[in-house]
């Protein structure tokens, strides 16, 4: 009954609004689902947890889905996760099948999204039940494992790990949290900033800076290219029929499963999911030569995989407290705003919120499908919105978000600028932002787990000998590093040849 009291018209309006805004963000090249969630997060401050999550989950699903619009119509991926959609989607548009390609992509997105939602509903509680038994040692090793997985899938293992540890280091600025057993002493803070940095940098201004301001600075550096024109783009043409999915069941299932699995791996983005699913479909296809020339199976693989990511990425977040990707990392902010900690106890202690999240995801997927199918011709025009109008508004919203998050602290607005510049610099020197963010979020927990374990057991060997789970985690850590080294060697070999 408590759940019914949450499922108000407001709840459904927020999911719908979030999904539509998310689609718009996703459809505009240069803007991502992560940016949408980061910019809108402060608005959830006055909405309450369930309504706030309804908005953010709508933004997440819509943002990931919207990327297919410019990918198919303009050959520009709206989000990194729709990169492989361009390969066959755009040739279909060139062949006069733009609308058909869009609707294939939208339907595949719906199926991928629903598949991953089912996986989330089944696996997250089970994993959380298992993780409840974890001591500080296993929790520390899980964080370490998450960092190595992210680093392993970065463009460079060393740079990925470095970025993750840099995130941890910056998260340690401030006092050693007394409420979690620390001694309350300040560290890494210059004397003149002690007043502002007692609790370290606030998470949300950091995220808004990295994903909002930094993106705009990168666009400004490139001259703020004008919105794309849709003139000459053939949206109509051959009609869409569901029969196109005949014989695509295996492709849909495999790609959705790949997307969900990649989502579960901490810190791995949607682009990895869609690239993996696309290459698998091409490998298994009887007509691989058709790929890249307008093959619908390519669009199906790419889009079902990237939406498969949405539910998958929430599994580690809600069961272990470890974000599955940079967007779900920002969702942690929504919980922090409401004073709720995500982790193994979250689902058991907050069953209503958990059910509301599942319903929000379900509604968001359905709304995404309906809106995109029936309003696709109008939505497609979003890609032409001038950036000179949009980006200043986003910057203003970034300021509002940063300022209001701690009830009006101007230093948080400067934090936004500092991390906006840092994000720009990181882009220039090719630091990896996703591991940095995950490191920044998990750093304080990692510290507590590590130091308290040492205080209790007085030996480093406990990290290897505590339990079979610890042993298994070390094996997984070794595998992820070995995998990365092997991939790097193959890459070097190919480059040398």
């Amino acid at each position: 009954m408590e759940l019914l009291s949450i499922l108000t018209p407001m709840f459904f309006t927020l999911v719908t609004a979030g999904t539509v805004i998310g689609i718009i963000f996703g459809a505009i090249p240069g803007m991502t689902a992560t940016m949408a969630v980061a910019v809108c997060l402060p608005l959830t401050y006055s909405l309450g947890l369930e309504n706030g999550l309804a908005l953010l989950l709508g933004l997440y699903v819509g943002g990931i889905s919207g990327g297919l619009v410019p990918a198919i119509l303009l050959n520009i991926p709206g989000t990194p996760s729709s990169i492989t959609t361009t390969l066959d989607g755009y040739p279909m548009t060139q062949n006069g099948e733009g609308e058909r390609a869009l609707k294939i992509g939208i339907t595949s997105s719906l199926i991928g999204g629903l598949f991953s939602l089912a996986a989330l509903y089944l696996f997250a509680p089970a994993l959380a039940d298992f993780a409840i038994k974890f001591s500080y040692i296993e929790k520390f090793l899980i964080i370490f494992f998450a960092l190595t997985v992210m680093a392993a899938l970065s463009s460079s293992l060393l740079v990925g790990i470095f970025s993750g540890f840099l995130g941890i280091f910056i998260s340690l600025i401030g006092a050693y949290d007394i409420s979690r057993g620390g001694n309350g002493e300040l560290r890494l803070v210059p004397e003149f900033l002690e007043y502002y940095l007692e609790s370290g940098f606030s998470l949300l201004p950091v995220l808004i800076g990295l994903f909002g301001l930094a993106t705009i600075l990168i666009e400004a550096e490139q001259g703020m290219k004008e919105g794309q024109s849709l003139s000459g783009v053939k949206i109509g043409g051959k009609p869409f029929k569901l029969s196109i999915f005949k014989g695509q069941f295996v492709n849909l299932f495999r790609s959705s499963a790949i997307g969900t699995f990649v989502g579960i791996l901490p810190g791995v983005g949607g682009s990895a999911a869609s690239i993996l699913a696309y290459s698998q479909e091409k490998n298994f296809s009887k007509t691989p030569e058709k790929f890249g020339k307008g093959e619908p199976a390519g669009v199906i693989a790419s889009e079902s995989a990237n939406n498969g990511l949405t539910g998958g990425a929430l599994v580690p977040l809600l069961s272990l407290g470890i974000p599955g990707d940079s967007t779900t990392a920002i969702l942690i902010g929504a919980f922090t705003l409401q004073g709720i900690q995500v982790g193994p106890l979250f689902i058991g202690n907050n069953p209503v919120t958990w059910d509301a999240m599942i319903i929000a995801m379900l509604v968001a997927n359905i709304v995404m499908f309906l809106v995109m199918v029936f309003a696709i011709r109008h939505l497609a025009k979003v890609v032409t919105v001038p950036k000179n109008i949009l980006f200043p508004i986003i910057l203003m919203m970034c300021v509002v978000g940063a300022y209001t998050i701690n009830y009006g602290v101007m230093f948080d607005v400067w934090t936004l600028l500092i991390f906006g510049l840092f994000g720009y610099l990181a882009h220039k020197i090719r630091l990896e932002i996703a591991p940095f963010i995950i490191g920044f979020i998990l750093g304080p927990s990692a510290e507590i787990y590590f130091v308290k374990s040492l205080e209790s057991f007085g030996t480093f060997s406990i990290f290897f000998t505590k339990s079979w789970i610890a042993g298994l985690l070390w094996v997984l850590i070794a595998i992820s590093i070995a995998f990365s080294i092997s991939v790097a060697r193959k890459k070097n070999k190919t480059e040398n040849e």
């Binding site: 401050y45 050693y176 002493e185 490139q222 607005v413």
Partner: protein, 141 residues
């Protein structure tokens, strides 16, 4: 933290706040050195081949965005102090900021595009200020 044997340690609570940062700093140092060793040639080539930053970027739009943003951030609390607890610091500074930024990002500054930029600069902050400050009582600078 003191080491009793290679694996055994005793943690001193009073200095325990420095254990983890020290370890992370050491690891960062090692990783940085490893990056320099493995990718030193690429980094050196990138540095020596040029062109150096900020060559090749849109100076006016990039630095213009930065300068306008710094002015905006500095002006907000100053103006806000004149009208305390009203959010007018945000509102009154956002209008010129949005107009200046929109104009800076424009490629063709015609009467029509400038009018749109002006209208946007006026309408967007008004809506945000009214909803947040007046309706929801959320504090703004």
């Amino acid at each position: 933290m003191s080491f009793d044997s290679p694996f055994h340690v005793t943690v001193d609570f009073d200095t325990s706040h420095m254990i983890f940062p020290t370890i992370i700093a050491i690891i960062l140092g090692i990783l940085f050195t490893a990056i320099l060793i493995t990718r030193g040639r690429t980094i050196l080539a990138a540095i020596t081949s040029g062109p150096w930053w900020p060559a090749g970027i849109d100076h006016i739009r990039f630095f213009g965005t930065l300068v306008l943003t710094v002015i905006y951030f500095t002006a907000m609390p100053t103006v806000g102090d004149i009208f305390p607890n009203t959010g007018l610091g945000f509102y009154l500074c956002s209008i010129p900021y949005l107009f200046a930024l929109s104009t800076l990002f424009l490629h063709e500054r015609t009467r029509r595009t400038l009018l749109i930029a002006g209208a946007n600069a006026l309408i967007a902050p008004t809506i945000v200020w009214y909803i947040l400050s007046e309706l929801f009582n959320i504090s703004l600078p």
